[in-house]
Each structure stands twice: as structure tokens, then as C-alpha cells.
């Protein structure tokens, strides 16, 4: 299908209308949903994965999954939140798979390229904080990594992270504590 220009904001169709149209088989609707939420999904994917290539693959997977299960979305008003949940869960699976491949020797473990991650307009203290977080992400277990990025980078509440990861609040707190401890240890080593 040829790409059509679809308004991503303003007085266009509401989310529930877009979802209803997509479920009804209107061919323009999925593209409109993609246009409206491509920035949200691509941005979150990029911050979770730390590389453009992985983020691009992840965002594609997210939209494909979303369109294939759109009929299961009960609260159509919460489309953006639903897409975020799919992004988080899919990123979690993908990171676990990448770690497994690394352990099996099928892939090299790579630290995130910091310069490609943070905006050049970020203040120095932000650059330091982001550099610290992304320098150790590849060393963390998948769940610790997800919890750390969602909390420190996305600024989500713990209950929200628990909902996205489908874990209890207590589990998320444990994962965060473990990740923060690792981060503090590594920052300490660097300062020594």
C-alpha cells in the first residue's frame, strides 16, 4: 500500500476510533496508528536497547504484535499505554535472547555507544548520569536492566514498572536495588 500522509496530532480521529477502524479492516487505520505512535515506540525502544539497529527491529516487532492483537485491547483509550507495555515486554524478551546468544558465544557483548545515545544538548550532569547508566547496561541481567532504565531514564513509578513487566512491586524493588548497587559499585571503581 502506498504511504499516505496521516495527521499525527490535532483534530484527527481519536484513539478508540482508530482502533475500531483498524479492527474493521480499514487499511488506512494501522498506518495512522503507526504515524501517531512511531515516535513514542521508537524512542522507548531506543532507550531500552541502546542501539539504533536493535531499536528499529524492536519497534517493528512491537507494531506487528500490536496490529495482530489489536482486537484484544479492552480499553481503547489506553492505546499508548498498551503500546508501551508491548514495547517493554518485547524488549525484555529480546534482551534475554541477546544475553543467551552472548553466553553461548554466538554474539559479542557490546557496551552501548554513549555518544549515539545522549543528545548533544544535554547538560553535563545529565551526560554524566546517562553515561554511567548506559556504560553498565550490558553487564546487568535482563530484568535488572529493564527496571533500571524504566526507573532512572523513563522516570516511571515502581508500580507502573511492575505492571509493564508483569512482576510484583516487591520483585521490581529487588531488581532495582540490585541494578543500583551494581551501578554504584561501577561508578565507585571509576572514581577510584
Amino acid at each position: 500500500m502506498k504511504l499516505r500522509a496521516v495527521a499525527s496530532s490535532g483534530p484527527g480521529p481519536t484513539d478508540p476510533e482508530l482502533v475500531a477502524a483498524a479492527i474493521a479492516g480499514e487499511r488506512w487505520a494501522p498506518e495512522a496508528i503507526f504515524r501517531r505512535y512511531s515516535r513514542l515506540v521508537n524512542g522507548l525502544s531506543f532507550r531500552l536497547m541502546g542501539s539504533r539497529a536493535d531499536a528499529d527491529d524492536l519497534a517493528q516487532d512491537v507494531f506487528v504484535q500490536a496490529f495482530q492483537s489489536l482486537h484484544r485491547l479492552e480499553n481503547r483509550q489506553s492505546l499508548s499505554s498498551w503500546l508501551c507495555s508491548i514495547t517493554v515486554r518485547t524488549a525484555h524478551k529480546r534482551i534475554r535472547r541477546l544475553r543467551l546468544m552472548t553466553r553461548l558465544g554466538l554474539r559479542r557483548s557490546e557496551a552501548v555507544n554513549f555518544d549515539a545515545v545522549v543528545s548533544s544538548t544535554a547538560p553535563p550532569e545529565v551526560q554524566v548520569e546517562v553515561r554511567g547508566i548506559y556504560a553498565i547496561l550490558h553487564e546487568l541481567p535482563a530484568e535488572d536492566r529493564m527496571a533500571l532504565v524504566l526507573r532512572r531514564v523513563e522516570g516511571m513509578a515502581i508500580a507502573e514498572i511492575a505492571a509493564h513487566l508483569e512482576r510484583s512491586v516487591a520483585t521490581v524493588k529487588r531488581r532495582l536495588k540490585s541494578a543500583e548497587a551494581h551501578l554504584a559499585r561501577r561508578l565507585g571503581e571509576r572514581h577510584d
Partner: protein, 358 residues
Amino acid sequence: MTEGRKLSSYIDHPMTEADLRRQWSEIETRIEKPAPRFGRSFLVPALAGLSLAVLMVVVAVTLLRRAPIASAWDGAVFDSSADEVSVALADGSRIDLEPVSRVIVREGSALSVRLDVHKGAARFDVPHVTGRSFHVFAGGVKIRVVGTRFTVSVAGAQSGKRVTVSVQEGAVEAESGGETTPVRAGETWSTVQAEPKAEALPAAQPEPLPSAAPPGDVVEQPAPVVVTSRPTAGPPSAQELFEKGNVARQSGDAAGAASAYADLLRHHPTDARAGLASFELGRLKMDQLGDLRGAVGYLQRAANASGAFREDALARLVRAHDTMGDTVRCAQAKTSYLTSYPSGVHAGAVRKACQNAR
């Protein structure tokens, strides 16, 4: 974290129109041809890895099955009389029995925990443990747990036993009469199970699990009902308001989020999300809306609830009263926090607060 803007606002992935076109084209192709994405360069190594993983699983299963050792917990019976009883299991799970309740441990190994709520009610706080299954049985209902907090109660009803499952966090699956129903946070599910002809003795009786209705009996078994407090008319449901608040908060619209959470508290004050909504509202007023005095009431309400946010709510109350110079209330909140969470994550900061008051 950096005050003011979120870190995420400095980490973006700008996409050009060409990028978007290419991405949409690939998504569209995959939607129209939902074939598995094989043929990539990692197919061969992935297959090799898969073979190795299968081999490792076979070895692990063989080793694990070699010597099944009965746990010392198997068959244990926990009874509460007039008071609540709390039990901590080795895997980090916690069971709080309400008064006059009984929970039987059918199996308590590192790989599998199976508990039977024989009578009364019990709250479960179960962390996720990879490789360990966790099931709770009540009447003829089997509840599968991943990692969550929930309550199971068994009570007598006219036509049998009423089993009720309320989930506070996470989700469980309730299986009854061959049907599996997911029950999520904030939802309550209940069913009436026909009484078995002979009541099984608690500790000494082993299987079967779960107990089905006796063959040949006419069973009155109403369909399980998930109560989600969604009215047919009137204000939006608690779920809708909560989602609306979350979306507004994530997009930086603090006032919009506060309004949605306030609506939730006004229209659905007894909903399971009310505590969390109250905490979020207090946090927004305190951190972003500059309404410290307004935050206090909501934080107090959150602190009176029993959610996982209670500790944070109490710590914020201490900070809010301290900032406003209300030393009496600050000291009260400080005592509440330190009594409940003497080694909590905020204990250090709380101890330093309103020291002139003590």
C-alpha cells in the same frame, strides 16, 4: 535522578520521513504476510545454540529428577486461632492467615509450592522465582501464581463453598471446572463450588488436586464472575480514570494526571487502585504542582492504605510536614514510618527529619 526534565527527554531517536516510510513498509509487509522471520544471518548459529540449549535442558532435567527429596514443609498445617498468623517460606513468599483460617502445605520444594486454603482466608505475597511453580488450591479452584500479591478466601455458601480470589498486585490464573480465568490487579473473582461428599482430612490426605465435584452429583456451579467495577452509565470506570491519569503523567501533563486521579478518588473511593491513585496525586502535588499542603491529605490517605507504596507515602509525609514546619505532625509521621519500616529505604532521611521535634 536529574531534577526537572526526565533523562528520557535527552535520549531520543529522531526518525526522518524516509526512516518512517521504510519502517512502515516493513511492518506492513509483515502484517500482510505473517510468516516467521527466518532466513536471517543468525539462523545457523541460532539453531546451533538451540541444540546446545536443548542438551543443557535434558541434562538439567535428568539431574533434577534423579533424587526427588520430600520437603520438610510437605504436609505442614498452619492454623490461626483468634489472631492473624504470618508465615515466611524459604523462597521469599509470605502468607498472612486471617483469624480462624487454615492453610496446608501440600508440597514445598524448590521447584514447586502447592498450598491448600482449607478454611478462612489468607493473603499471599509471592515473588517471581524462575523455575519454581506456585499453586494455591481452595475448594475445587486451582490458582496459578507467577509473582504477585493476592488473597484467597473460602466460606460456606448455600450450595457449597464460595471461593474468592482478590488480586492486589500482578495477576493470577484461577482454574475451575476446566475453565481458566485470568484475574488481574484490582479484580476480584469468585465462584461457588459444590461441597465434596466427604471432607478431606487436612494434613494426612494426599492427592487428588484440585478436588472436583463428586461424579454423578448435580452441581450448582455458577459461572465465575470477574468484578471490575465498571458501571454501565455515569462517570468513567476506575480503570479508565487510572489509565487516563497514567497517560497524562507520562506525557508530562501533571495537572491532567492530578485531575484524573482526583476523579478516580471521588467516584471510586473504594476501588483497589484508590490507594495508588492517592499516592500518585500526592506525589504530583508535592513535586510538580507546588501544592505541598494539598499533597498531605492524599499522602495520608495513601499511607492509611495497605499498598506497596505505603512506605514511600509515609516518608513523603515526613518530608512534607518537615518542609512546612509542622513539627508535631512531622514527628507523628516519623514515628509511624520508623515503627513500620525501621530499616526501610528512607529510614536514614526520615531519622534526620524534624529533629527539633523530638
